[in-house]
């Protein structure tokens, strides 16, 4: 009822603004910026409903009340413009294409804003500034582009997940990526890639990036909502920041066809840190070990290849004064540099908009269908003593044959290790995911200032994954040796959104502009995974030949006693929210935005179903004050202040009610009926994590806007920290999601600077440079813990380091602080000495500084753009050096790290985690560089032509000895994530791509 009254009031208000008086006639012409007349543009008097459209020459004539002040002129695909007619009877209006003007329109969530009206910290990146080169997912478009946004590749496997953090690390649990919103549809954040468990005991494989089903070529702009005053409109899912992706839309006019094609070739960015055959030979002499088998080979090279990447993209778009459409098609094939790995994508999108009922009703739709296939190499993140493909190749004795003279694999290495080539050949893992993302929006202009909009979005993904280890494999120590193993798994992920919004935009008075948004949103998601595996196939073809078809195509011939089937259905999640935002603009000088969101979630306990997230932001544009207004040097100077609360709840399953589970495998038990046990205890007080943040910033622009940028300082505090806690004993050993008590919190404090400038700008030559950096420190505070850690994480894996951890969550320390014994050199026997048996807090895996540099050099039709990024002040734990390439392995007939030569370390030195393996993580990476030649219009058919060459991951400046300092192998402990641990991961590829783009 209250809502009805409010709306009625608004209605009356608008009616009063109309005045019924004498009429006069205004004429004019509407054109595009290049002077082309726009046909069918709509012209209305501000405050009135009726209007006219322009004729074939773009001219119009309209009768208006004598006291009418403004006309509103709109055209599909262009920015609506208002013109003053108080003292004019003939006007010429230029409408700017929306696409061309994207840089100015920022998507703020449930609405847009002009960039200069923003009060919060929002970074807006448009397609022209995106990273180029090999881009598997949209997050990679932004690496190094936005101050405060860190995108870290976790692994070099094509399509692998990234770690994305906005302004530091807010949580001590997983699932803390930012919220992604695509054309108004909030995504789930998970991927429907089925989980296999562990195939033949090799361990868990790294995750896939959940966004790879989007086509980077379809993205028009990305907005990063960094502070709470901006992100609070997303309430309980906004705490880790929000990344809003807006796809390209068609523009009015004849059909345009744009074609992009590229081919690239990839190789290793940096070689494996192991001895060459000749170095190995001399090391054997030094250590007096007899393992020289006579040959000289490079086993690591045997599992890598020069990989080809191909990308083909075609898009079609067009429209008229009533509507527009765009459709695009992508086919891409990215081979991995490790044998039998890669990513193939096929993708189609279709989007459009159309206006009905005198342009009052607008229907918008977006549809993406995609199918991708990952070929996954056996490169597990937590391999134990058996290792994975990378360790098998690194460790292989470089004097020993991989393939025997009869063509069979040498699987009887005296060291007992797996033959990497055999592992690569006998292992197959293919994951195929089909995703549909669709949304439809209906927007109705109830009054000139008031619009109602309804959005329904659905995101459905299904994955089918098939894996096998042929029985010809030996030495894995798992079920597959000699017998073979196959697994087939499927998964489904389905989420739906329904949003209603009501938007009012108008002037309360000449000086005060008002923008109000209110709405309701319902979001639900569900996930299931099912897998079936069997081992024990008794039909290996003798003589080492591969079978003509994979084992997983014939699972019935595996030993049926070894058939295992597992289903896992996550609790369904429902969210229901009410939100509102009011933005006030007083004479373009003083801005105020306030938002409020009420969120209810099924994830939380009965006592805490709803949470409330307020925020407020203000801006003072000092340069609009009279004392600065006409300053020629300082064009813009504005001061921003924001405060807000956001929540975080993703990544935790339902935790509120007591859950009884059936214990595995009891159904077959004679005599005992299926025992069940409590798997989760009721937690009725469970609630979201809350991040309260304060942001203060200065926007500036100098010298005719040639230098512009911002400086922001921020302080965030996470309270009610969600933690998968051990239950107070006695309990059934299960864990429980809990909010850490008052007094426990996480802080992230820091500042960001982003400056870009046109250093040179003349007719033939231009040089732009942009630099952004963030300094951030995070701390976990929980004084009740004293100096003992709350939890250990960063599990160290490999032979000899079972149940060792490198990181801790501890009071007064950064999240995931390294917690290790201190290495003090070697004793006279070459055995490592440590500072006692205790561990100390010895280093921070969180970078203090992240840096991004972009530069563009233009000379006539040539352009060179270079993007570099880096991180500084963090440490990396080299787990590979601890337990894979350690010196003792040379005595076992394995290859070791180059860095160990000349050390006094004994072969008997224990394999043990310590600060010895902690290395500086500083790096600066030349992420991509593109040289392009823009031929422009050619003849009467080719609208534009551009050819380019791009280098991706050209080089990295770092002292780190692993493949890449931009690394984070997942070494979580029971869901508490690790950071900055490197362990026999997929190496980084360097790629050179040649391409051509043209438009018809």
């Amino acid at each position: 009822m209250r809502k009805k009254l409010l709306l009625f009031g608004l209605f009356m208000f608008c009616c009063l603004m109309q005045s019924i008086a004498q009429q006069r006639t205004v004429t004019g012409k509407v054109t595009a910026p290049d002077g082309t007349p726009l046909v069918g543009a709509s012209v209305t008097v501000v405050g009135q409903r009726s209007g006219v459209t322009t004729d074939g020459s773009g001219n119009f004539s309209i009768n208006v009340p004598a006291n009418a002040k403004q006309l509103s002129i709109s055209y599909v695909g262009s920015e609506t413009k208002r013109v003053d007619i108080t003292s004019a009877s003939n006007v010429v209006v230029e409408l700017v294409n929306t696409a061309a003007n994207l840089a100015d329109v920022v998507v703020t969530g449930y609405g847009t804003s002009r960039k200069k009206d923003l009060t919060g910290a929002i970074a807006h990146v448009t397609a022209k500034d995106f990273n180029k080169g090999v881009i598997a997912s949209p997050d990679q478009l932004l690496t190094g582009k936005v101050a405060g946004l860190q995108v870290t590749m976790n692994s070099g496997q094509p399509g692998a997940a990234t770690t994305v953090q906005i302004r530091g690390n807010n949580s001590i649990r997983g699932g803390t990526t930012p919220l992604y919103v695509v054309d108004g549809v909030p995504l789930d954040g998970r991927s429907p890639r089925p989980s296999l468990g562990s195939v033949s005991g090799l361990g868990d494989l790294p995750d896939v990036n959940p966004l790879i089903y989007l086509n980077p070529n379809d993205i028009a702009s990305i907005d990063v909502l960094k502070d709470a005053s901006a992100a609070a409109i997303y309430g309980s899912r906004g705490a880790n920041g929000v990344i809003i992706i807006t796809t390209k839309k068609g523009v009015a006019g004849e059909m345009r066809v744009d074609v992009a094609a590229s081919v690239g070739i990839s190789g290793l960015m940096k070689d494996a840190d192991v001895l060459s055959a000749s170095q190995y030979r001399s090391a054997l002499k030094t250590y007096n070990v007899a393992s020289d088998s006579g040959l000289s080979l490079n086993p690591f090279k045997e599992i890598t290849r020069n990989a080809i990447t191909e990308n083909y993209n075609v898009s079609l778009s067009g429209g008229n004064d009533k509507g527009s459409y765009r459709s695009s098609f992508l086919a891409s094939d990215q081979e991995g540099i490790i044998r039998k790995s890669g990513l193939k994508k096929y993708l189609a999108t279709f989007s459009g908009q159309h206006r009905f009922i005198d342009n009052k009703l607008t229907i918008n739709f977006n549809f993406t269908a995609s199918n991708y296939t990952e070929q996954i190499a056996p490169i597990s993140t937590d391999a134990g003593s058996t290792g994975n493909l990378i360790s098998a190749a690194m460790n292989w004795n470089p004097t020993l044959a991989l393939v025997r003279s009869d063509g069979t694999f040498n699987q009887t290495n005296p060291s007992g290790q797996i033959n990497p080539l055999a592992l690569s050949n006998y292992y197959d893992d293919n994951n195929n995911v089909t995703t549909l993302l669709g949304s439809i929006t209906g927007a109705y202009q109830i009054l000139p200032n008031l619009q109602y909009e309804i959005l329904y979005g659905a995101n459905y993904g299904t994955g089918l994954r098939k894996a096998q280890m042929q029985g010809l494999i030996a030495a894995t120590g798992g079920n597959a040796d000699g017998k073979g193993q196959a697994t087939v798994a499927n998964a489904q992920l389905f989420s739906q959104t329904l949003t209603h919004t009501l938007t009012y935009k108008g002037n309360i008075s000449q000086n005060l502009n008002l923008n109000l948004v209110g709405g309701y949103e319902y979001w639900t998601t569900s996930y299931r995974n099912q897998s079936t595996s069997v081992y024990g196939f008794n039909w290996n073809i003798p003589g080492g030949q591969k079978l003509p078809f994979p084992y997983y195509n014939n699972m019935q011939s595996g030993n049926q006693a070894n058939l295992r089937s597992t289903t896992n259905v996550d609790p369904s999640v429902e969210l229901q929210s009410y939100f509102a935002r009011g933005s006030f603009n007083y004479v373009d000088k003083y801005f105020l935005t306030a938002t409020f969101r009420a969120d209810g979630s099924s994830r939380f306990g009965t006592n805490n179903k709803y949470a409330y997230f307020p925020s407020v932001g203000a801006k003072w544009v000092i340069s609009q004050e009279s004392f600065l207004k006409d300053n020629k040097t300082l064009n813009v100077l504005a001061l921003r202040l924001g405060w807000g609360r956001t929540g975080s709840q993703d990544g935790i399953p339902a935790g509120a009610s007591q859950q009884i589970g059936i214990n595995n495998g009891y159904n077959s038990t004679p005599g005992g009926s299926a025992p069940f046990s409590i798997v989760n205890y009721a937690s009725p007080n469970l609630k979201w994590e809350t991040v309260t943040s304060v942001d203060g910033g200065i926007d500036f622009s100098f010298l005719g806007n040639r230098i512009s940028g911002y400086i922001d300082g921020f302080s965030k505090k996470t309270t009610n920290v969600l933690f998968l806690s051990t239950l107070p004993v006695p309990s059934n050993g299960a864990s429980i999601w809990k909010n850490l008590p008052d007094g426990a919190y996480i802080t992230n404090k820091g500042f960001e600077v982003s400056v870009s400038g046109q250093i040179i700008k003349n007719e033939n030559f231009s040089w732009d440079l942009g630099v952004n950096m963030e300094y951030v420190r995070n701390k976990f505070i929980y004084p009740a813990l004293g100096t003992s850690p709350l939890y250990l994480t960063g599990s160290i894996t490999g032979q000899g380091v079972s149940s060792a951890f490198a990181e801790a969550i501890a009071n007064g320390q950064p999240i995931d602080v390294f917690y290790l014994r201190e290495f003090q050199g070697f004793d006279k026997n070459g055995i490592a000495i440590t500072n006692g048996q205790s561990s100390y807090y010895v280093g921070d895996p969180n970078p203090r500084v992240i840096l991004g540099i972009s530069t563009d050099l233009g000379y006539k039709k040539f352009n060179l753009s270079i993007n570099a990024h880096g991180a500084f002040g963090n440490k990396i734990y080299n787990n590979t050096l601890t337990s894979v390439t350690n010196v003792g392995n040379i005595a076992n007939g394995k290859n070791i790290s180059k860095t160990l030569i000349g050390s006094s370390e004994s072969l008997a030195n224990p394999v043990s985690a310590s600060t010895r393996f902690l290395q500086s993580g500083n790096y600066l990476k030349l992420g991509n560089a593109t040289l392009s030649y823009n031929a422009g219009k050619i003849g009467s058919y080719i609208r534009s032509l551009n050819i380019f060459v791009t280098g991706t991951n050209l080089f990295e400046i770092t002292k780190y000895t692993g493949f890449d300092a931009e690394v984070s192998t997942d070494h979580n402990n029971n869901g508490v994530p690790s950071l900055g641990i490197d362990y026999i991961g997929y190496p980084t590829a360097r790629t050179i791509t040649f391409g051509i783009n043209f438009g018809l």
Binding site: K4, Y444, I446, I454, D481, H500, Y522, S526, V569, P571, S572, Q576, G600, S601, S657, I660, G661, G665, Y666, S668, P670, G671, G672, P675, F676, S677, I678, V679, Y681, A682, T726, L727, P728, V729, P730, S731, N732, G733, K738, L740, S788, P789, L790, Y791, I796, Q799, G800, S802, S803, R821, I831, Q837, S838, S883, N892, S906, A908, P910, V911, S912
Partner: protein, 538 residues
């Protein structure tokens, strides 16, 4: 106004959607109200029995805490193997700290037994089921008290809460266990198979509680024994002895053989007549409703990689870790069959492996010398260090112990049929003798011990005292006798504390601190339960 109505329709739709109650939908689990009728006490009881497997069977659980902290077991770091961040070394050297993972894990696993047993009590059990659950609950409480000195518990009414659990002091815990165990002896069914608690299991545990009572109350200097308690230990022991169900097994190692329980049949079958309480194990997945225990942890952890040359067979290669120290090996009387290093059928003829304390060159089944991985002869040497620094002795250092003979005939899938014995009849005789000694009946104690000596082929003793603090291996002491009979059965630390000598130096342990009489409470538990207090010194 008409237009307003148009847009009110979808708003109305919104408010209909707005009625969702946001209840959890679990999909693959279900919810029952606490204490609800949908209970299955027998299933839950099996669950509680299965909880014993992890903490009592695995090599890094109670076995490690009770044995590696003592003078009869250590895990030397062998180059790339078994350092595991020093987790084993700190136990033997008495240098662990509050983050010790094994200590933390045992704490939680004991809580699982206690919790699941209490759940049975809450969900309408029969009198027999309640008595068995009470036994399991007491067993968990006993080990909490032994290892940590604090006993968290839940009342039956609060069996499923997640609130901080109340914590019993040692006095309260002893009173509670004595009351509960005394109460169930008459309810437990004497016909229960030895892997279901019978009255003798309850008697045995009660004997342990009473014997350790003074040490539990004051570990640094245990008080004088109470005569009535010792008398009760003797009469409980005699009830077990006089039941006639048990006898000392003539071949000591038959107690631990693959057929020690007759493949999970009842009493009187199998090669061991000493099983009072043990795991069920018949080598199959359907195992009387119980999970088979991973008893292979008892031999894999000590066997060398090449001890059994059977490539491609699961468990064919040992893990080459756990060893014992020379002082213990040397303490045995030459005729004492318990030292072993003797052939055992089904084992020696298959792999050459012997049972008992293994020293010297190892041979395969054909009598040929086994080599280590570097091609040197595999010789187990008495000399051993916490960190082996000589690369040539990395693999052979340390005498190994094979008490449970590997079940070579049933290796597939890693399910072996030996039953892991928690409570053994020989210990009843030792406890009775100890109570007699503590009650100043040296003659009675001597008589009891010599029954054991006769069965084991050792010379009869003529004098017997409790302990010789100057020589822990003094043959005329009960502590040394307990070691020779009960070695590697997870009792040594408890015994050393009860006899007041746990802080004495011994091989590869020099300094000590009274804080090591107790293990630390894990940090996550201190956070979760303010009723727990960290033990002094951590």
């Amino acid at each position: 106004m008409k237009r307003i109505k148009i847009f009110l329709v979808p708003l109305l739709a919104a408010s209909i959607f707005g009625c969702t109650k946001l209840n959890e939908k679990l999909n693959d689990q279900f919810v029952i109200s606490p204490g609800g009728g949908n209970s299955n006490a027998s299933g839950l009881l099996l669950n509680a029995y299965n909880d014993l497997n992890t903490p009592f069977t695995n090599q890094d659980q109670i076995f490690s805490l009770e044995e590696n902290t003592s003078d009869e077991c250590l895990v030397p770091t062998r180059g790339g193997d078994w350092d595991d961040n020093g987790v084993w070394r700190v136990l033997h050297a008495h240098a662990w700290d509050a983050t010790h993972g094994q200590s933390a894990s045992v704490f939680v696993n004991l809580g699982t037994i206690e919790s699941d047993a209490t759940t049975v009590l809450a969900l309408n059990p029969t009198a027999e089921q309640a008595a068995e659950a009470t036994f399991l609950r007491s067993m968990a409480q006993f080990y909490f008290l032994d290892l940590y000195g604090q006993v968290p518990y839940r009342t039956v009414a609060n069996y499923n809460t997640v609130d901080a659990a109340p914590v019993m002091t040692p006095e309260e815990a002893i009173d509670t266990m004595v009351t509960n165990l005394t109460g169930i002896i008459s309810t437990l069914d004497p016909a229960n198979t030895p892997y279901r608690a019978g009255p003798d299991a309850a008697r045995f545990l009660l004997m342990k509680v009473l014997l350790n009572k003074q040490a539990f109350l004051n570990r640094a200097t245990p008080g004088a024994d109470v005569s009535a308690d010792m008398q009760q230990v003797i009469s409980l022991g005699q009830a077990i002895i006089n039941s006639g169900k048990y006898s000392l097994t003539s071949n000591y190692f038959d107690n631990f053989s693959p057929n020690n329980g007759g493949f999970a049949s009842g009493y009187g079958t199998g090669t061991s007549k000493e099983r009072i309480f043990c795991t069920s194990n018949n080598g199959t997945a359907s195992n009387n409703g119980l999970n088979p225990a991973g008893v292979d942890a008892r031999w894999m952890m000590t066997l060398h990689y090449n001890s059994w040359d059977a490539p491609g067979v699961y468990g064919g290669a040992g893990w080459n870790g756990f060893s014992t120290i020379a002082d213990f090996y040397n303490a045995f009387d030459a005729n004492d069959s318990r030292r072993g290093n003797v052939a055992y059928p089904g084992v020696t003829n298959v792999s050459g492996l012997k049972v008992g304390l293994l020293e010297g060159q190892q041979f395969n089944e054909a009598g040929n010398k086994i080599q280590d991985r570097k091609g040197n002869p595999l010789v187990f040497t008495p000399e051993v260090h916490l960190v082996e620094a000589n690369k040539d002795s990395l693999e052979g250092a340390g005498i190994r112990i094979i008490k449970y003979a590997p079940d070579y005939s049933n290796y597939s899938g890693g399910v072996q049929r030996n039953q892991l014995i928690f409570f053994r009849y020989a210990d009843v005789l030792l406890m009775v003798a100890e109570a007699q000694l503590r009650n100043n009946d040296a003659a009675g104690a001597l008589a009891t011990i010599n029954i054991l000596h006769a069965a084991r082929g050792a010379a009869p003793l003529t004098t017997l005292t409790l302990v010789n603090p100057a020589n822990l291996y003094d043959n005329n002491t009960l502590l040394a006798e307990r070691q020779k009979e009960m070695y590697w059965e997870s009792w040594r630390r408890q015994d050393l504390i009860r006899f007041g000598v746990f802080l004495k130096p011994w091989a590869l342990k020099t300094a000590d601190d009274p804080k090591y009489l107790l293990f630390p409470i894990p940090a996550t538990q201190l956070v979760a339960n303010p009723n727990l207090k960290q033990n002094p010194g951590y």
